[in-house]
């Protein structure tokens, strides 16, 4: 058993579109950057946990090692929808926590196609999209947002403000896909994809990768890495418990709530203690639900939380300072480690113009539809 597990190295590629590169190539680059950040070598890694969704049967982890050093260590490839990267990170955490390893590498990587995700379904010989309602991701999350509207009166404008905020934050993040201010009228007048989500309220399909080096407390001291180390105070993973509308309406709320409860309990902290949050804004509608799911505000207060600027840099609990999935981009398998990169960067005081002053405690959250929720709480030591 290891009591404490730390992140000692972490980095990500600036997200973008790299049609001429391969998934292992992108993953290898992030792995080397994270190793350099830790000042360690691939030969010191005792295991690799690799998250990738669209080539889940492609042994991506091993192909990364073929590029940066085939040392014979155990490699686990994992896929868990949009929680893929965070799941790989958590597997590395568990292996160290269990005392099996003292230092491990986690990589998340994805190359995305263009266009809409989701849909299909049905076993008839005809397409069911637009026949049995819609199954695209913008539609699924529009329906989840409208559920919030029916309960709390949340408006199209409030959802749109999430996108304004996250695009604003991304202007200060050189690793975001976009660094462009997008005023409210631009967001609301953008092409409507699935009401109430316009095109600028949908996450950006990009390629990318991110990687982290995790280390036991004992090994951190042995390697003299205390200055770089950020402590993992909690790691929680849930699936979606049964809900009466599950069959037609994936529930992203309950799995987040139980993961948050578990994470806060593990860390012995509450949402009021957090200095920043990176949460799963795959669509603007989703972010407001998660303010409440993560306890950043009371139920029904999510609309006010965005209206009053509490989630903006300088606010009570800044959310998605990286620009979030809406502007930094969302390469599915990389997202769950890229948001750990963002929080660690703040805890180290290296976030430049978007730095949260004196940040000590941060939370990362991802949701994979289907569903999986992963939450990590990280602390400056």
């Amino acid at each position: 058993m290891n009591d404490e597990v730390y992140v000692v190295g972490v980095d990500m590629l600036k997200f973008g579109r790299f049609p001429d590169r391969t998934v292992p190539d992108l993953g290898a680059e992030a792995a080397l950057l994270a190793l350099d950040d830790a000042g360690l070598d691939i030969r010191q890694m005792q295991a690799l946990y690799c998250g990738n969704l669209f080539q889940a049967n492609g042994m991506v982890g091993q192909r990364i090692l073929q590029q940066i050093g085939q040392t014979g260590i155990p490699v686990v490839n994992c896929a868990n929808a949009c929680a893929t990267g965070a799941t790989a990170f958590r597997e590395a955490w568990m292996s160290i926590k269990a005392g099996v390893h003292d230092v491990a590498l986690a990589v998340g990587v994805e190359q995305m196609g263009r266009g809409l995700l989701g849909g299909g379904g049905g076993n008839a010989g005809i397409p069911t999209e637009g026949l049995l309602g819609g199954g695209t991701m913008p539609t699924v999350f529009a329906e989840a947002g409208m559920e919030h509207s029916r309960k709390h009166g949340t408006t199209f404008e409030q959802f749109a403000k999430v996108s304004v905020k996250n695009h604003h934050h991304s202007t200060m993040n050189p690793k975001a896909m976009y660094q462009v201010e997008t005023p409210l009228e631009t967001v609301m007048n953008a092409e409507m994809i699935s009401y109430p989500n316009t095109k600028l309220m949908c996450s950006v399909n990009v390629d990318g990768s991110a990687a982290a080096v995790l280390c036991s407390g004992r090994k951190v001291r042995e390697l003299g890495l205390t200055d770089r180390a950020v402590r993992i105070r909690a790691s929680a993973l849930t699936s979606d418990p049964w809900q009466e509308r599950n069959l037609v309406m994936p529930d992203v709320n309950t799995c987040t709530r139980i993961a948050a409860d578990a994470a806060y309990e593990q860390a012995g902290v509450g949402p009021e203690d957090l200095d920043l949050v990176e949460l799963h804004d795959c669509f603007a509608t989703a972010e407001i639900l998660h303010y409440e799911n993560l306890g950043l505000c009371a139920d029904g207060e999510g609309g006010r939380f965005i209206d009053e600027g509490h989630a903006t840099l300088g606010g009570r609990t800044p959310v998605n300072l990286s620009g979030g999935l809406l502007s930094k981009g969302h390469p599915l398998g990389a997202t769950g480690i890229a948001n750990i990169y963002e929080v660690v960067t703040h805890l180290r005081g290296n976030a430049g113009a978007r730095q949260v002053d004196g940040a000590r405690l941060g939370l990362t959250h991802v949701i994979g539809l289907g569903s999986a929720c992963a939450i990590h709480i990280l602390e400056r030591v």
Binding site: G119, I126, P127, E129, G134, P138, S194, Y195, N246
Partner: protein, 143 residues
């Protein structure tokens, strides 16, 4: 819009839509006698309470209320837009997703909890590679 066609030669668009040789089409579901959870289609074990051998086949109601929706303006190539993707709680249990028809695709016109009816119509003219017609279910305002 394709004219309603419920000839017995149509195939069902989903496996829980039943088209009897005689009589009207209906939606098949099941209810757990242990906890009351209701599902479309059939199943052996209850996902809610995990009871085995407690699932009883039922016919789902053909009326219910609009729980949530999205108005889809962009979909996959070849899919006609806009359409209303509606989540409907059926009276007596069960939730279905489907197209809400016969109402303007305008959030001003669509009310949460509005009563809707389930209707069975031709599957928007969609045919499989063998030329078979399909029958699907849709929602329409009940009033």
């Amino acid at each position: 819009m394709t004219a309603p066609s419920t000839t017995h030669t149509s195939k069902p668009a989903v496996d829980y839509l039943k088209i009897p040789a005689t009589g009207e089409p209906y939606l098949a579901g099941c209810v757990c006698d242990s906890c009351g959870a209701t599902y479309t289609g059939t199943r052996k074990v209850c996902a809610h309470c995990s009871a085995r051998g407690q699932m009883r086949d039922i016919r789902l109601a053909e009326h219910g209320r609009l729980y949530s929706y999205a108005i889809v303006h962009r979909s996959f190539p070849g899919i006609e837009v806009p359409f209303i993707s509606a989540v409907v709680d059926l009276d007596g249990g069960g939730t279905l997703k489907g197209n809400l028809m016969d109402i303007e695709a305008d959030p001003e016109k669509i009310q949460f909890d509005m009563p809707v009816r389930v209707v069975f119509r031709d599957a928007l003219g969609r045919k499989d590679k063998d030329g078979n017609h399909y029958l699907s279910y849709f929602f329409v305002p009940a009033d």
